[in-house]
């Protein structure tokens, strides 16, 4: 085969013994070293480097988050076991790893636990300083405000404690809406008890009233608030809460008992009897349910006894009150004489025990007090029904003397008579 001596591409003579020219022999690879090619390779290298770094970073973050959680759990265990110093060190480590790895809520929880460990080791000042720093960063954060409230309350700083409690109530809770309402109510309750403990009743009542407007539709909560209002001496507002609870759950025992108590305190004996009877019936039904209230404490039994007692008194009041509307004079007189008899028995028994002087009736009452029989006394009184109130006053006097010297009445009849007498006396003064 013949080969051309001159290369058609570059025009140079092909050396002897070679088939093709140098320019075609092998590709000149200088383009591999060209700037643009290397730039391309750099860009490709970047993609690979990003991938490797991303993988490493993911492992790194995962490890740190894992360490944060494990130190946090360890710290909680140490704190529960009473080793506060070790817990403090663990929480510190957890905070170091938690930074930028966990959500803000989790970090905040870690910080709050760290503060609790500081308090547990007696570093209240450091805890306060740390909490204030957290507060500076987020003044509207409710958990931080609550923790500050607890700490300042413990340190005896009432003004700051109240401020932080209010901050916690009005601040931001990072939870869903239902929990937030519940948490706010819990803090209000805490504040209420705190104020009551310090004798600030007016402020406590204000908190209670504010609480009443912010209760979620939960019968248990309404009943709980109602109980607090009863304790605070606000039976009317308490009754409203119990009624609201019964509207949400007509078989709520606490609401029934509470409403009965509220009506009892308000003197609405008919309603009180109705609520209390319902409460007793409900309690009996709940007891009959298998497995129900297996873990009941004695408080329920005590409460039930109180319900029964109140019911008896309310029923007795209804039966013995001569001033009830719609009664004819004979019936009034009958009730009054029965009240008188019971009061006399009680005062005589008390006089025997303690040697007190028996109260003397006024002259205009002697026809009734010295009558030969109850029937005669009733008839006489019915004819002179205007003497009913003075008689009831005298009965009230006897009962008061008996209560003063021998304690409150032990039976429902006398307890009812005391209530009737108190009401009559109050209406005359």
């Amino acid at each position: 085969m013949e080969f051309s001596q001159v290369c058609p591409k570059c025009g140079r003579t092909i050396p002897q013994g070679q088939i093709v020219c140098h320019c075609s022999m092998r590709p000149r690879r200088y383009w591999l070293h060209s700037r643009e090619t290397i730039l391309l390779l750099c860009v490709l290298g970047l993609v690979v480097a990003f991938g490797i770094t991303g993988f490493a970073a993911q492992l790194y973050h995962g490890r740190r988050a894992e360490l944060a959680r494990s130190w946090f759990d360890r710290g909680n265990a140490e704190l529960k076991a009473g080793r506060a110093a070790a817990a403090l060190s663990d929480f510190r480590a957890a905070l170091v790893y938690a930074q930028r790895e966990l959500s803000r809520d989790e970090q905040q929880q870690y910080e709050l636990n760290f503060v609790r460990a500081l308090i547990a080791t007696g570093n209240s000042d450091a805890a306060r300083s740390y909490l204030l720093d957290m507060w500076d960063r987020a003044p509207g954060n409710s958990p931080v405000n609550l923790e500050l409230a607890h700490l300042t309350a413990r340190m005896g700083n009432d003004a700051d404690a109240k401020r932080y409690y209010n901050g916690a109530i009005l601040g931001v809770w990072d939870q869903d809406a239902g929990d937030v309402l519940r948490r706010r109510l819990d803090v209000r309750l805490e504040l209420y008890h705190y104020l009551m403990d310090r004798g600030e009743k007016t402020e406590a009542q204000a908190v209670l009233l504010a609480m009443a407007t912010a209760i979620p539709p939960d019968p248990a909560l309404h009943a709980q608030v109602g109980q607090l209002m009863l304790q605070a001496g606000q039976p009317q507002q308490a009754l409203q809460q119990f009624q609201q609870a019964l509207r949400l759950d007509s078989r709520n025992y606490e609401a029934m008992a509470g409403a009965g108590e509220a009506d009892f305190q308000l003197g609405n004996d008919r309603d009180a009897v109705r609520y209390l009877e319902n409460a007793i019936r409900e309690d009996a039904q709940q007891k009959r349910r298998p497995g129900a209230r297996a873990n009941d404490s004695g408080s329920r039994e005590t409460e039930q006894a109180h319900v029964v007692e109140n019911l008896a008194i309310a029923q007795a009041t209804l039966a013995l009150d001569p001033s009830r509307l719609g009664l004819d004079p004979r019936e009034r007189a009958r009730r009054a004489i029965r009240d008188y008899d019971a009061a006399v028995i009680r005062i005589e028994s008390c006089a025997k025990e303690h040697g007190i002087a028996l109260p003397e009736p006024s002259r205009n009452l002697t026809p009734f007090t010295d009558a030969a029989s109850d029937e005669l006394a009733e008839v006489t009184l019915a004819r002179h029904i205007e003497q009913l109130d003075p008689l009831m006053e005298f009965i009230f006097e006897m009962e008061s003397a008996a209560t003063e010297n021998c304690g409150p009445p032990a039976d429902a009849t006398n307890a009812a008579i005391v209530r009737i007498g108190t009401r009559t006396h109050a209406s005359h003064t």
Partner: protein, 628 residues
């Protein structure tokens, strides 16, 4: 310690690559052969594989041709790529340090006593071996080494320096040596840039400039603060403000920070509540912090110098043991104060949140100074930034604690004092006042703190400069036998201006509208030659007496000078311009007019070459007199 490099002595690897560049950058696209040509022995036939290969190569060639761009644009694009690579490297570096610490010292913040002493000691032995035998160029913090590379070795930093720095610093910091990761990040970024620059055949000038671009990227990623990094590189590494490189530096820094934030989060390094002044008298406490910070900076510098001087006098074989001994001593201190080990960022955060008593804070500051001096002097590779910030944070927090104790009504948040303290040490110890202000702003994300920062930094800087003229980085380079420019010293040099050298205008000054005959008649016995001619447009030129004479004799006496003068334009100066510029403009002219900026026709002086030289001579006499 390594032998100091003599000035102008280039590393052997530096020369070939810069010499190769000149040849390889001349390759042109049209020189590419036709890839579909037949290979030897296969004339007339081409297989599928060969055709496919030809197609791929052609596609690559088109892509390559498409990427061809102007040198400036290429440099900017390269800066972004360098920023991305540097950012990735720093992310991996931070992860490596953390994992090393976890592996060697465990995950608790109070490692066991045996670990605390043993780990830095054994790691120190290993470090010494690696640094002395395998990676000899990784010694030091990295800042002075990068600056040396820029000014002495044309920006050359070998890639094995990057690898060595990564490994040794991760080991040093992770094992508890009192060093920081920022300076090594700066050097690693510079090294990556240098390597990329070499591969991409940058010109010698660009190759020298690419290292600071990478340095800014590395430091920006380390601090998560681009402005701080840019300012520091300009203040410390480059030493001058140069608009040509500023864009590239900024691009690289931003790219690096984006990468860092992508992988390690965008939160500021320290979180302090928004700062608001409690009372104007609070500023006095920051002034006091500036004084204390300045004093602490001086203590730091003096102790570091003293320890370095002592260690340099030890026999050469002790170089293998010095890091271990330093590690052992640091471990001993760490038994009681583990906070001084490593970079210490988590403890700075604790100080900001008031978790230490003021006595503890002061003790930590002093012990950190001691520990860092030991680490650096022993030859362990690592940085000084983090220790300086640590000391500053402790001093600041101590001042803040006392302020809260004695003047609670005039005390801001404790974190603010710690933050300002950091900036104070940055200004006083590292002598980077501008950088320190921005550093505080960027790491906290809190602009409202700027006034206390400036007050405190300024005082610390003045104190530091008053009692220790040379900054720590410059000191260290001079101890190595290198003479590198310093922006701080450059600030001290006064620039000579035209007004320092010019003389008052005297003699005849002609107007271009004057007639030749009139001008000639006014010459009289004047000895000045040539004469200045001014135009109404503010232009100036010169005319020789002989030229006037010739024009008059040629019958052009009735014409204005503007018609007979040559069209040449004389450069004009202004009084506030530098003499350096005047030197470049004067060329062969006997003198130049110095004119008013508001009215170029208003002559305020004349400046000749003799005037310029006389001014320089006067300035050097004054300076030498001051030195004496």
């Amino acid at each position: 310690m390594s032998e100091p490099q003599r000035p102008n002595e280039r590393s052997p690897e530096a020369e070939p690559w810069s010499a190769r560049n000149a040849e390889q950058s001349q390759v042109k696209t049209e020189d590419v052969p036709d890839w579909s040509a037949e290979l030897p022995g296969e004339r007339g036939k081409s297989t599928f594989a060969q055709r496919l290969k030809a197609v791929v190569l052609e596609a690559l060639e088109r892509a390559r041709a498409g990427l061809s761009m102007r040198e400036d644009n290429f440099f900017l694009l390269l800066s972004v790529i360098i920023g991305l690579y540097a950012g990735l490297a720093v992310v991996c570096f931070r992860i490596a340090i953390d994992y090393t610490r976890l592996w060697l010292l465990g995950s608790g913040i109070n490692p066991g006593p045996i670990r605390v002493v043993l780990v830095p000691t054994v790691a120190g032995l290993l470090l010494a071996f690696i640094v002395l035998r395998i990676f000899p160029r990784v010694k030091g913090s990295g800042v002075t080494q990068t600056k040396s590379a820029v000014y002495i070795y044309d920006g050359y930093i070998s890639f094995d320096t990057v690898i060595g720095k990564f490994l040794t610093c991760a080991l040093a910091i992770g094992s508890g040596q009192s060093l920081g990761p920022e300076d090594p990040s700066l050097q690693m970024g510079a090294g990556i840039a240098s390597a990329l620059g070499r591969r991409l055949h940058l010109s010698r000038e660009k190759g020298r400039l690419i290292a600071p671009v990478g340095a800014a990227a590395g430091l920006a990623a380390a601090f998560n603060a681009p402005i701080t990094a840019v300012l520091f590189v300009i203040e410390e590494v480059i030493g001058t403000w140069s608009a040509g490189i500023l864009g590239a530096v900024v691009l690289a820094a931003v790219a690096a920070v984006v990468v860092m934030r992508l992988f390690l989060g965008a939160q500021p390094l320290f979180q302090i509540p928004p700062y608001s002044m409690a009372h104007p008298t609070e500023l006095l406490s920051y002034a006091a912090l500036g004084v204390l910070g300045g004093i602490m900076s001086l203590i730091f510098v003096k102790l570091l110098r003293w320890v370095r001087a002592r260690t340099r006098r030890l026999p050469r074989w002790t170089l293998y043991l010095q890091p271990a001994l330093a590690g052992m001593m640091i471990g001993g201190i760490g038994l009681k104060f583990p906070q001084i080990m490593g970079a210490g960022y988590e403890y700075m955060d604790q100080a900001m949140h008031g978790q230490f008593l003021w006595r503890t804070l002061v003790a930590l500051a002093l012990l950190k100074v001691l520990a860092t001096s030991l680490s650096i002097s022993s030859g362990a590779p690592g940085g000084m930034f983090a220790p300086a910030l640590f000391v500053g944070a402790m001093v600041g927090a101590a001042v803040g604690t006392l302020q809260h104790q004695f003047f609670p009504g005039a005390a801001g948040p404790l974190g603010a004092y710690a933050l300002v303290g950091m900036g104070t040490l940055f200004a006083g110890f590292l002598r980077a006042p501008m950088t320190s202000v921005f550093m505080v702003l960027e790491v906290s994300g809190n602009y409202s703190i700027i006034v206390p920062v400036i007050i405190s930094n300024a005082i610390a800087y003045v104190i530091g400069r008053r009692f220790q003229q040379t900054a720590i980085f410059d000191l260290m380079t001079r101890e190595e036998g290198l003479d590198l420019p310093s922006m701080e010293e450059g600030r001290e040099q006064t620039t000579l201006l035209v007004e320092n050298a010019m003389r008052k205008p005297a003699g005849l000054i002609l107007k271009a509208s004057d007639l030749v005959a009139d001008a000639y008649s006014r010459l009289g016995d004047m000895t000045e030659d040539p004469l200045l001619v001014s135009y109404d447009t503010g232009r100036w030129t010169l005319v020789h007496k002989s030229a006037l004479q010739d024009a008059a004799r040629a019958g052009k006496g009735g014409q204005p000078l503007s018609q007979v003068l040559p069209s040449g334009r004389l450069p004009r100066l202004h009084p506030d311009q530098s003499l350096d510029l005047a030197l470049r403009l004067i060329r062969d002219a006997p003198f130049l007019p110095v004119v008013h900026r508001a009215d170029a026709r208003h002559l305020v002086g004349l400046l000749s070459l003799d005037d310029i030289l006389a001014a320089y001579r006067r300035a050097s006499i004054i300076k030498s007199g001051a030195v004496e």
